[in-house]
Subunit: 132 residues, 6 copies
C-alpha cells in the first residue's frame, strides 16, 4: 500500500547504493528494511536521514535500548504502525525484554490518559515547573 | 485558562482530601500541583488516576528516570505543554541531566521526522518485524 | 497570539457583516466570539464554515448537549484549547452539568489510554467488528 | 500485524484468566476480543485497564450509548482503526442507529475542521469562556 | 475494514445519486472513489462535503497542484493512509512530479521534527512573529 | 514557559556561536529567533537541525513560498503555535499574501474534516490509488 515503489538493490542509484552499503556495514547485517527502500528514490533525503539517525541513535549518554524505547513511545503517539514494528524489533535486538515492553506500553497509555485530562481541564503550568 | 476552577485545600471534599493526603505522603512533599487541583472536582477519577499512576510510575523493571522520560516523550507528541513541564520537573528530580534531556529531545524530533516519512511513503511492514 | 488580526464590527466587509448578523440572529445574542473575528478576513470560508456549523450542530437526532460534548471530545484529542473553552461554554449553556463534564473528561482520558495500548500492541481488528 | 502474540484461552496465566472470566461475566458473552488477548501478557495492566473501563464506561450520568459515542470520537481523532471498529460495534449493540452514527461522524469532521482553523489563526480565548 | 458498507451505484438514494452525477461531471470521469461510497449513506453530509471540496479545492489563488500538496501534508500529519493515497493520486494527475513529491515528503518530515523540538523546549513566540 | 533557558548571544558555546553566525549570514539578518536560542544548549542538535533545514528549505524544485506553506500546514496539524507563528512570518517574508494564507487555512481545515470522515468510516484504499 506504498505511495512509492520500494526499490530493490538492482534499482538503486549510485548515491542510494552508497547509503545502503553504509547501512549494511554499520548494522553488520545484509538486511535493509522497507523504509530505506521507499526513501531510496530521493538519495539526498535518504543520506541526510541515515546520517542523522546514526548520530541521534548512536552512542550517547542514554542506554541504546532506552533510546529505542523512546523512539517507540513517540511512534505509538503518532499512530505509525510501521515505526512501532521496526523499533520494537530494534529494541528487542538491543535487549528489551517482554516485561520491559509491557511497562513501556503501560506508561504510554497512562501518559496518554493524563495528557488528555490535563488538556481537557486546561490546567495552567505551576510556577514551580517553569525554567529560567 | 482552565475549564474548571482549581481547588484549594480548603475546598476539597473528604474523598479528594484523602487522595491529596496520599499524594503528599507518597511524594514526601507538601506541594500538590495544579493537575490534581483541577481533577479534584471528580474524586472518583482523581483517586483512580492517582492509584493508576502510582502503579504505573512506581517501582518496576525500568529505571524511574527512564519512566519519566518515556512520559515526556509521549507528552511532546501529544502537544501537552503542562505535561511536558511537570514531567521534565519530575525527571530532573529523579536525576535526569540536561545532557540526557537534550538527547531525549533529539530522539523525539528524529522519531517525529521518520514517522512522517514512513506514513507519507506508505511503507509496508517488513515480514521480519512481525510477531507471532 | 493570533496570526491574523481579530476584526471588530467596524472593520467587517459587507459579506462578513452579513454572516455576523446571521450568527447574532441564530444565537439570539450580540456576542460574537473571536473565532469568527479571526475568520472574517476570508468571507467565503467564514460563510461556508458558519453554514456548515448550523447544519451539523443544528437540530438532528442527537441531543444538542450531546453534540457539543462530542465536539469537546474531538477538540481535546486535537489539543485545541480555544475549541475546548468555547465548546465547554456552549455545552454548559445547553445544560451540561459539571458531573456530566467530569464523566466526559474521564471517558476521553480512558479512550486515549486504550487507543495508545491498542496501537502499541498492533491489535488486529476482530472479524466480529467488521462491516459489510 | 501485532507486536505481541494474541493469547488464546489456553495460554493465559491464572491472573489473566481471572480477568477474562470477569469480562465474560460482566458482558454476558463468551466472546473476548483481541485487545484483551494482546494485553493478557501483562496481567497487571490487563486488570487495571479492565477495572478502569468498568468504572468509566459503567453506569453513570450519561447514557451508555452516548458514552460509547464519545469513545468513538476520540478514537477517530487518534487515528485508531481498531478502537473505532470495536467501539462502533459496542455503540451499535447499545442502540446507536446508523443515522446517529452518521451525525456523530459529521460532528467529528466539523470539529476537526474548526479545530485546525482555530489553531491556524491562533485565536485567543475570549474572556467570556474562561472559568474561575 | 470499513465501519459502514460501501454503496454501489445501484444502492444510492436519489439525493446521493445526484451528488455522484455532479462528481462525475465535475471530474470528467466515471470513477467515483470509495470515500464517496462510504459517505453516501448520509446524503446531507455527502452533498455538504462535496460542495465544500469544490469551493476549497477549485480555482483560487494557489496552483491546483500546490493545493493538493497542502492536502497531502495535512493527511500525513493526521496519519490517514487513505487520504494520502487519494491525494497523491490527485496531485500526480495535476502534474506533481516524483521529485516534487520527494521534496514535499522531506519538508513534512523536517517540519515534524522541528515541531516536536519546539514543543519539547516550550519555546515562547518571539514578539517579532506576533500579528496585530 | 520554556523547559530550558533561552541563551543570549553571550551565553553561547563556541560551537553554538558558529551556528548562529551561519544563521545570520544565510538569512542576511542579525535576528536569531527563540527556537535556536532554546536549541543552543545542545550544539550537535543545533548544528544538525540547521544544516538539515538549509538543505530541505533551501533552493529546490518547489517555490520557496510554497515550501513555507507546506511547513505551516504540518505545524497546524501538529498543534504547534510557535511553529505556525514563525513559519507564517517566514512565508509572508517570501511573498505569501493574506489571500493565499486564507486559502491555505481553508485547505487545512477541509483536509482535517475529510481525514476524520475517512478514518471514521474506515474507507479502504481504492486499487486505483495504489502504486507499484
Amino acid at each position: 500500500m506504498a505511495t512509492v515503489k520500494l526499490l530493490s538493490d538492482d534499482e538503486l542509484s549510485p548515491a542510494a547504493r552508497a547509503v545502503f552499503a553504509d547501512i549494511r556495514a554499520t548494522r553488520g547485517s545484509d538486511f535493509v528494511n522497507n523504509f530505506w527502500r521507499a526513501l531510496a528514490h530521493d538519495p539526498v533525503t535518504l543520506k541526510r536521514t541515515w546520517d542523522s539517525l546514526k548520530v541521534v541513535m548512536g552512542p550517547g549518554i542514554l542506554d541504546p535500548k532506552v533510546k529505542e524505547m523512546l523512539y517507540i513511545a513517540v511512534s505509538i503517539a503518532h499512530a505509525c504502525p510501521y515505526c512501532i514494528h521496526s523499533h520494537t524489533a530494534a529494541a528487542r535486538a538491543k535487549g528489551m525484554s517482554e516485561a520491559e515492553y509491557a511497562e513501556l506500553v503501560a506508561i504510554v497509555g497512562m501518559a496518554a490518559e493524563t495528557n488528555r485530562l490535563v488538556t481537557a481541564l486546561g490546567v495552567p503550568v505551576d510556577r514551580e515547573f517553569e525554567v529560567g
